[in-house]
Symmetry: C2
Subunit: 263 residues, 2 copies
C-alpha cells in the first residue's frame, strides 16, 4: 500500500474534521483556526488513527488530541513561558492577536477538546487516557518540572520529556487501541511503546533544534551522545514493532517516518 | 430547617472534596490549592447541590464547576487580561507565583475538571452542560465579547453578562437537575431561571463593585437605573421560585441569599 498517500489522505481528513469544529462566524473561532491550520504535522492524530479499526469513531478523538496539543503550544509560546514570536513560520498567536486572545484561544481549544469527547460517551475510557495524559500527571507536570527545575539531572530531564511530550503521544496510541476494543495486554504494549516513541521524538527534536536556552538532550549530552541515546531507543522501538507481524503496517510506517525525520 | 447551618455544612463538604483532588506533594497541587482554598463563596457548587437529590453523586460535578470557575479567575487576573493583584484579600496567583505558574495553574484546574467528570461516565449529559457553558459558546464567548467590544450597547452588555457569568451558573442548576433524573420540562425551567439568576448576580456585582474601568451595568446605567433593572429581575426570579410549592426549599434559600447579598 502507498502509505505516503495514505498519510496525506488522513491529514486531509483530520484537517477537514478540525475545521468542521471551527466553522463559525465568531471571532475567536477564526483566531483558533489561525493557530490550528498553520501546517502542523498532525503526528498525534495520525498515530491514533493508525492503530484504530474504525476511522469515523476515532476521528473526533484524533481531533481532540490535536486541539490539546495546540492549546499547549499557544500557551507555551506566551511571553511568560517560552516567549516565542514565530511558530511554523508564522507569527505566534499572541504576536498576531495579543496576549489576552492567546490565553483565551488556548482555554477555548482545551475546552473544545473536552466538549468533543463528551459527545462520545461510549468511549469515555479513551477520553480518560487523553485527559489524564494532558493534565497534572502528564503534560502539565512536564511543563512545571521544566519551569521549576534549577539544576536538572539526567533523570529529571528524562522525566520532563516523558511527561511533557511522551504522555500525549502515548495517549494517542492508548486511545486508538481502546477505541478498537483491544485487550489490556495489547494496551499495555502500546503504552510502553508510546512512552519510548514520545521520548525518542523529543530527543530527535532536541538534536534537530540545537536549542541552548532550555535544558535539552543536546545541551546536556552533546550531539554525539544524544545521537547514541536516540539510536538505542530507536533500535528498541524497531525491535518492538517487528513483533507486530503483518499487523499495524501503517503505524509502523509512521513510526519509521517519525524516527527518521530530518526536520 | 436551619439553612444557614446547611450552607456551611455543604461548604465544608465541597471544600473537603476539592482538597481531596489536590492531595499530593507535587508543587503545582500546592499552587492550585492556594487559589482554590482562598475563601470563595462556592455559589455554583452550592446551587448544583441544592437541586440535586443525591449528594454523593453530585459532589464531583459541584467540584468540577468550582475548578472551572477558579481557572477562569486565575487566567482573568493575569496582566494581559484584568491585571489584578489581589483577589479575596490575598495576592492573585500570578503575583504570588509568577505568570507562567498562573497560566499552568489555570490549565491544570480546567483539565482536572475534565478528568473528574470523565470519571463519572453515567452522567455525561450533566458534564456536557457544564463544559458547553464553560466554552466558546458560553463563558469564553463572554470574555471575548468583553475584550473585543469597543463601544458596548445595552444589548451587548447583556450578552457579555449572560455568557461570561450566567452560563456557568445556569449550568450548575442544569447539571444538578440532570443528575437528579428530572424531565426536560423541569430542566427547561431551571435553565431559564439560571440565566436570570446569573444575570442578576452579575448586575448585583456591578452595583456593589462600582468598577469604572470596565463596562458594567453601574457604568452604563448609573446606580439608580441598575438597581431598578436588578429589582425587576429579582421580582421575576422570586415569582418563578414561588411556583416550586414546598419543593427546593434549600435552593430558594440560596437564591434569596444571592439576591440580597451585601458584598
Amino acid at each position: 500500500m502507498d502509505f505516503q498517500k495514505k498519510t496525506s489522505d488522513y491529514i486531509n481528513l483530520i484537517n477537514e474534521k478540525i475545521e468542521s469544529y471551527l466553522d463559525d462566524s465568531f471571532v475567536l473561532y477564526r483566531q483558533m483556526h489561525y493557530c490550528m491550520m498553520s501546517g502542523g504535522k498532525r503526528i498525534r492524530p495520525l498515530l491514533l488513527l493508525s492503530v484504530s479499526k474504525n476511522l469515523q469513531t476515532a476521528l473526533p478523538f484524533a481531533c481532540a488530541i490535536e486541539f490539546i496539543h495546540n492549546y499547549s503550544l499557544v500557551h507555551d509560546d506566551l511571553p511568560a513561558m517560552d516567549n516565542d514570536d514565530y511558530r511554523r513560520g508564522i507569527l505566534t498567536c499572541h504576536k498576531k492577536f495579543g496576549e489576552a486572545v492567546a490565553i483565551l484561544v488556548g482555554d477555548a481549544l482545551l475546552t473544545l477538546a473536552c466538549e468533543i469527547v463528551l459527545d462520545e460517551p461510549k468511549f469515555f475510557n479513551a477520553a480518560k487516557k487523553i485527559f489524564n495524559a494532558a493534565g497534572i500527571n502528564g503534560m502539565i507536570k512536564g511543563q512545571v518540572l521544566e519551569l521549576e527545575s534549577k539544576i536538572i539531572t539526567t533523570d529529571e530531564l528524562r522525566q520532563i520529556h516523558l511527561n511533557k511530550t511522551a504522555a500525549l503521544i502515548r495517549a494517542s496510541l492508548e486511545a486508538g487501541i481502546i477505541l478498537s476494543g483491544e485487550n489490556k495486554n495489547v494496551l499495555k504494549n502500546f503504552s510502553a511503546l508510546g512512552n519510548k516513541l514520545g521520548l525518542a521524538f523529543q530527543i530527535k527534536d532536541d538534536i534537530l533544534d540545537k536549542d541552548e536556552e532550555r535544558m535539552t538532550y543536546f545541551k546536556m549530552y552533546g550531539l554525539e551522545k544524544s545521537q547514541d541515546i536516540f539510536n538505542n531507543l530507536a533500535d528498541e522501538i524497531y525491535s518492538d514493532i517487528e513483533k507486530f507481524d503483518g499487523q499495524y503496517d501503517f503505524f509502523k510506517y509512521l513510526v519509521k517516518n517519525i524516527l527518521e525525520r530530518k526536520n
